[in-house]
Subunit: 334 residues, 2 copies
Amino acid sequence: MKILSAILLAAAFTVSAMPAAAAESAAPVAIAIHAGAGTIKRENLDAARESEIQAKLEEAVRAGHQLLVSGGSSLDAVTRAVTILEDSPLFNAGRGAVFNAAGRNEMDASIMDGRTLNAGAVAAVHNIRNPILLARRVMTDSAHVMLIGEGAETFAREQGIAFEEDEWFRTEYRWQQLQQARERETARLDAQPEHWLSTVGAVALDSGGNLAAATSTGGMTNKRWGRVGDSPLIGAGNYAGNDSCAVSATGHGEYFIRATVARDICARVQFKGESLAEATRAVVMEQLSEMGASGGVIAMDPQGKIALTFNTAGMYRASIGTDGSVFIGIYRDD
Amino acid sequence: MKILSAILLAAAFTVSAMPAAAAESAAPVAIAIHAGAGTIKRENLDAARESEIQAKLEEAVRAGHQLLVSGGSSLDAVTRAVTILEDSPLFNAGRGAVFNAAGRNEMDASIMDGRTLNAGAVAAVHNIRNPILLARRVMTDSAHVMLIGEGAETFAREQGIAFEEDEWFRTEYRWQQLQQARERETARLDAQPEHWLSTVGAVALDSGGNLAAATSTGGMTNKRWGRVGDSPLIGAGNYAGNDSCAVSATGHGEYFIRATVARDICARVQFKGESLAEATRAVVMEQLSEMGASGGVIAMDPQGKIALTFNTAGMYRASIGTDGSVFIGIYRDD
């Protein structure tokens, strides 16, 4: 027993000490995440906050990747990464979500399994600690794809999903954004684009060759009328299909819905034979830009190739490719 | 002046007396509508109800077509046709909508303009007489695409949209369906497929060459948890783009969301060069059938070609093609 333990310990040490790439088997794994896009410029972000954001992005992408390397599913990897981003007050999802016009945190999320095209989504939910976990539960434990509002919260209670008090979600930073928006009496999208675009998301490829995508958001500061953006809409802010690709989007949600951004990128790959880079460029840099829509996407094809494409000054993003190379970026020139 | 009036009168008379086909100018117009698909068999439908349904379908399709012939937009034509179907207690949309688990009529609708890709949608709204008119108002008078629940109703009030009391929507037929569903303690989709699939919708091409699509539904009898189906989701139950096609769907909504049915049909036309017939067949008869999903679509391409494609025994449907030919159908062999 002692010898066996020693061997196991040695094996464990060897694996963890190896670079990520070498730890992989023949089947490639990869992950990419985002935490929003907008007019993120070096002059607007102090060094402390920049480091904090980079560290959280790295924590999330490595946690998801670790699951993939140890044989976990892409669904688990994107769920794990998004949960970490939701739990961070830095981003507009879960804790730290923006406030709606009624002064509440009203959140949307969706998840999709590229192997089966199963999907789950929730919109306009309150007090759900991790909306992505609720979206996943909708996928796995209901006959439905999309649940909204109080009904979705009832389902969450029945499922034992974790709730938090309002205080958990509240950050002074987001509260002040609401006060500013109220003063402007507007939920205008171009008011503070560096803030409202900070949806979070992840895409991943697991060793079984399966893609998955997850997206979570607090939506738009000062939003009214039960406004729903692209994040919880399959084919708009989120999509995964093993035959095509996986996409999670962040940006001006209304345009992303109209352009069915996530599905269109994958449809171009699937039906037109475009590469992932060509497809994301056509949709984000050409179509969305022509529509006047700001934002970006992270995308992954069935070979684990990654595209991090945005038409804004910056996008919080990170990835670990099939070769194990780690990338963390904020600005365009990162 | 008298001579001019006489000439105008003569011209007006000539146009209205001509068959629809001849009344068209060089620019073709066309319209198609549906009011649900399912296990609609001759033995399940008595002659009186059959006639009633046929008459309402004909009224709706002719009303939409009349607008097109007189130079109206495809948006106006699909809105008009769907409004007529919503106002009829025969179909599961507006008046006559099914009841949710709480015993309320909870409705979804969406509309899309193929020229601009503008879109509007509402989900889980109550007491709105014509949900399609509210969806259109979201498109034209808000900065948003999708509004849900009480928030959408607040927007409706601000916009002067017509509300009706619960009694307006209530039909004994739908109420009994709810009681039966409650007895079975289920909202199972295969329980009474001839009922729950009766979403309504329309697609049209106007003389300006613009496509539009509109879809409206009461959803699923006994639905809980704020369940939203495909009807209000752009790219799932509804889509229109002048570069590709227009689609309105009816069927097992969860599968239609996962397969992004409406956008996928149009993406096949746009990116793969498939004909409308090939694209609807691939998605409805192959992909959806393989997924075990029942339903159908009406679709129209930029030349006004029409596809009425369903994998169920029947689909309530009607169309007037670019040649002015009128078709009304219920069963597969119609």
